[in-house]
């Protein structure tokens, strides 16, 4: 699977809705901006993960659901949810 910024946003909204058990239409996009991350884990490594230490371009996606903000990070190969219930999550890779 290969992401564009738009498809990453769509997938992030769907993912968050599923995790929270709400309708995707109630998840609002706050921002989706280009961003350089410190490594290939997009600065959001999961446990036991090693990543290439190369500055990596991607997108920071901020969503709102039920008045709470959630941060996703994506590049063309992956989508990650940052610090959800205390842990980073790889949504799709």
């Amino acid at each position: 699977m290969s992401f564009s910024k738009e498809s990453a946003v769509t997938r992030a909204k769907t993912d968050l809705a599923e995790r929270l058990g709400i309708d995707a239409s109630s998840v609002k996009l706050l921002s989706a901006e280009d961003k350089d991350f410190p490594n290939s884990s997009l600065g959001a490594p999961v446990d036991d993960e090693m990543s290439a230490q190369m500055i990596s371009s991607g997108w920071k996606i901020m969503l709102d659901a039920n008045g709470k903000n959630y941060e996703y990070r994506a590049d063309k190969y992956q989508l990650r949810l940052l610090n959800f219930k205390g842990a980073n999550i790889i949504v799709t890779s």
């Binding site: 410190p38 490594n39 290939s40 600065g43 993960e49 090693m50 230490q53």
Partner: protein
């Protein structure tokens, strides 16, 4: 003028521009005869044939180096879209063109306009006319250590490799490099030295790498592991997917090019080693991340191949995390016991590894070197981790051009890019002294730096590694 003279004169002209820029002396020429070195030095490009701005003696305004994949037809279209005119293609440098602005902008503005097109353009600079420096200044351009320009490789992108030879190009600082030209007077590497690139694989078909890739010799049987079974390893090892160490990310190929892109082959870049054997050990997937377990599996493969007679002396590890693994530490120690140096990236969080370790670079093992990244003006890159107790040395790691997937080349930044500079220099040393112990090799590398005040209190050895010093020049 014949082609050889043109190239020499073009080189001199570029050097003069750089020197003048550094001294803040750039200014437009007032008259034709003010150049005392050579008439042709000033004219790095032919006069424009089009009547622009009514000034018949004006040079094209901007020199633009487009990326390799941009065709000349596209370059002309891009220029036309900007209401500019491609005055000349500088054939001796791939995709370098002289562009003349048609609507009265300053050269600086035009250069900035093209520089912003970073997906298409490697660099753009005003074609400033400069006052010739005195001839004695020219001598200072010739390295004082008797490195002749003829000793430079013919790889067309070598002039972009500031890490190897920083002449001040693109705003760099002269000599803020690993001083490899002088090192090459002693050795340019050896195919008897195997460097394992533990990464996302390597594009072993890349035209600038293929000649320096390790291939399993006939006398070494295909790899068999008690648990994993038989693993085809003709081109190296892969712990992921289909067991093919072909790179599908690009990161490993980039690191491999820094270490050992074939030198002086009239193609792309020059590796620190013109000759070497690069063994891909793939454990990072397409996204550039992987598991500790797969890293261990790959290192274990390297150890077993070393024991079987493959002369693996260096592992390049341009990756990491803050997760500690005793098992990973142990297998790296075991590699050291087999005489394998493990060179690792310090990490890109811009933080201190003394207080928040980054592994594997923070393992306190006698075969581990942790590498921080410098930019082209000898400052630590803002992203680079540091640590006076745990990060050992610095090397160039920002805007590093190297090999990429599909025969391409790409600039990348990170301690990932600094790490193979050190691994590559280690391989040069081993080409010169194949029997050197890993302890002595490490000590030699870490004691051969150009000290930098800005790194004091940040690194154990507060300097930039110097290949020439390592080799005893």
């Amino acid at each position: 003028m014949n082609r050889q003279n043109f190239i020499i004169h073009l080189a001199i002209a570029v050097v003069l521009v750089i020197m003048a820029a550094a001294a803040g002396q750039m200014r437009h020429w007032q008259k034709e005869g003010s150049l005392t070195v050579d008439h042709a030095v000033k004219r790095s490009t032919p006069k424009p044939t089009a009547a622009v701005r009514g000034a018949a003696d004006r040079e094209p305004e901007v020199l633009v180096k487009f990326r390799r994949e941009v065709s000349f037809d596209d370059i002309k279209k891009i220029a036309a879209k900007n209401n500019d005119n491609v005055e000349d293609e500088i054939e001796s440098v791939d995709k370098l063109v002289a562009i003349d602005d048609m609507d009265g902008q300053s050269a600086e503005a035009v250069a900035e306009q093209y520089s912003k097109m970073s997906n298409l353009v490697l660099y753009a600079e005003p074609n400033l006319e400069i006052e010739a420096s005195p001839l004695e200044d020219l001598k200072t351009v010739t390295p004082k250590d008797n490195v002749n320009p003829a000793d430079q490789p013919n790889d067309p992108m070598f002039s972009d490799q500031w890490a190897l030879n920083n002449t001040g190009q693109n705003g760099g600082k002269r000599k803020a490099d690993i001083d490899v030209l002088k090192a090459w007077q002693k050795t340019k590497g050896s195919r008897k030295v195997v460097v394992a690139v533990l990464d996302s694989g390597v594009d072993y078909t890349h035209p600038d790498l293929a000649a320096n890739m390790w291939t399993r010799p006939d006398n070494i049987p295909v790899y068999k592991d008690d648990e994993l079974g038989t693993i085809p390893d003709l081109h190296g090892f892969s712990a992921v997917d289909d067991r093919d160490p072909m790179d599908d990310n690009g990161h490993g190929t980039h690191c491999a090019g820094v270490i050992g892109a074939e030198g002086n082959n009239d193609e792309g870049i020059a590796g620190i080693n013109w000759e070497v054997e690069i063994m891909p050990l793939k454990f990072l997937g397409r996204g550039g991340f992987g598991t500790t377990k797969d890293a261990i599996e790959a290192i274990n493969y390297a150890i077993e191949r070393k024991r079987a007679g493959v002369n693996i002396r260096v592992i390049n590890a341009s990756w990491g995390s803050t997760t500690y693994s005793k098992a990973l530490e142990d297998v790296i120690r075991a590699a050291g016991d087999e005489g394998i140096l493990f060179v690792a990236a310090a990490g890109n969080d811009g933080s201190s590894n003394d207080s928040r370790p980054h592994y594997p670079s923070s393992y306190n093992l006698p075969n581990v070197i942790s590498v921080a990244a410098l930019d082209r003006v000898d400052l630590m890159a803002t992203f680079s981790n540091f640590g006076v107790k745990s990060v050992h040395v610095a090397a160039p790691g920002k805007d590093i051009v190297s090999t990429w997937l599909n025969g391409e080349y790409r600039e990348a930044s990170g301690t990932s890019m600094a790490t193979p500079q050190v691994a590559g220099i280690a391989a040069l040393v081993l080409a010169q002294d194949p029997k050197m112990s890993v302890q002595k090799l490490r000590q030699k590398l870490l004691s051969s730096v150009d000290l930098l005040d800005t790194l004091t209190g940040k690194l154990e050895n507060a300097g930039r590694i110097n290949a020439s010093k390592v080799l005893g020049n």
